[in-house]
Subunit: 176 residues, 2 copies
């Protein structure tokens, strides 16, 4: 009778224990997808984008300005994207998994890059127009300047929260 | 008498040959710092930013608009940064070295991130105002609309050339 080395298929799998898997995740930086930091960033992005959308939509004359229409579209897309990924992050935290799949991280990085660039572009265009109205032409009285400025500021804050997500996902993709 | 292992300081360096070092660079993707692709990207960034600066500065009424003044500052900074790095790239190609130093690549990535973000923000703000003048208010006759649009388009092209440099440097930093 020889040792167990000649019967490798009969080696049993380790018994399943009822204890949860350890929560230590190697190479996971807080803010990456599947961490509580990542969930916090996603929620920040979603809240700021949604507030920006609501404030801009509450002004009656935003469709006059192309840039403000674009802002509404961009923060709408950003809020949908961030909400979807917040739900995924919450699920990943609840089932104690993380996103180590290369394709998934690439999808997140590309999506984050596109949505954050669109949000930033819309925020900059809106900021250019609010500054034009406020400082250069000084006709803030006839326009909803404060609401335009608030919506623009919220879009910038959403972009500030989206940039770390993009950079961390890109970093995670490059270091895999 | 023992072998050379006990006299490690007497081990001679390999003799210097007059042949140039091999030009194969591992892990170097065309477009990274120190490659001909990188030099091409830097020259594109510099040329587009410089043309944008000249076209915008040639209009007499750009200081009326805050966003156009910001565009001039941003593409000025972008052209200086890109020119400096183009010179460094050209030197690196001439002496057949590459930038493997972690601190240098980090400096490049941070500088690229800042300048490209500033250029993109300025281009978006200017685009918002040119669209406002052209489409929304249709008073392009009294303004230098075509020059404003050309300068904005050149700033966008400069940003398009700057983004690969930033992403490749960031990738190189993460994968080191």
């Amino acid at each position: 009778m020889s040792g167990p080395a000649v019967h490798p298929v009969q080696v049993e799998a380790p018994p399943m224990t009822e204890a949860p898997p350890p929560r230590v995740r190697m190479k996971d930086i807080q803010g990456m997808a599947g961490t509580t930091g990542g969930l916090f960033l996603r929620l920040c992005q979603f809240v700021f984008a949604a507030v920006s959308l609501c404030v801009m939509a509450s002004t009656f004359d935003f469709p006059v300005f192309t840039a403000f229409c674009y802002l509404v579209a961009a923060v709408g897309l950003q809020s949908l994207w961030s909400l979807s990924l917040a739900i995924l992050d919450a699920y990943a935290i609840l089932v104690r998994r993380n996103f180590r799949n290369h394709a998934v991280v690439r999808l997140f990085a590309v999506g984050d890059g596109i949505t954050s660039t669109l949000t930033f572009a819309a925020a900059c265009a809106s900021a250019g127009i609010t500054v034009l109205m406020g400082n250069d032409f000084e006709n803030c009285d006839i326009n909803n300047c404060k609401r335009f400025m608030s919506a623009t500021a919220m879009a910038f804050l959403s972009w500030f929260a989206a940039t770390p997500s993009f950079l961390l996902n890109f970093w995670s993709l490059a270091s895999q």
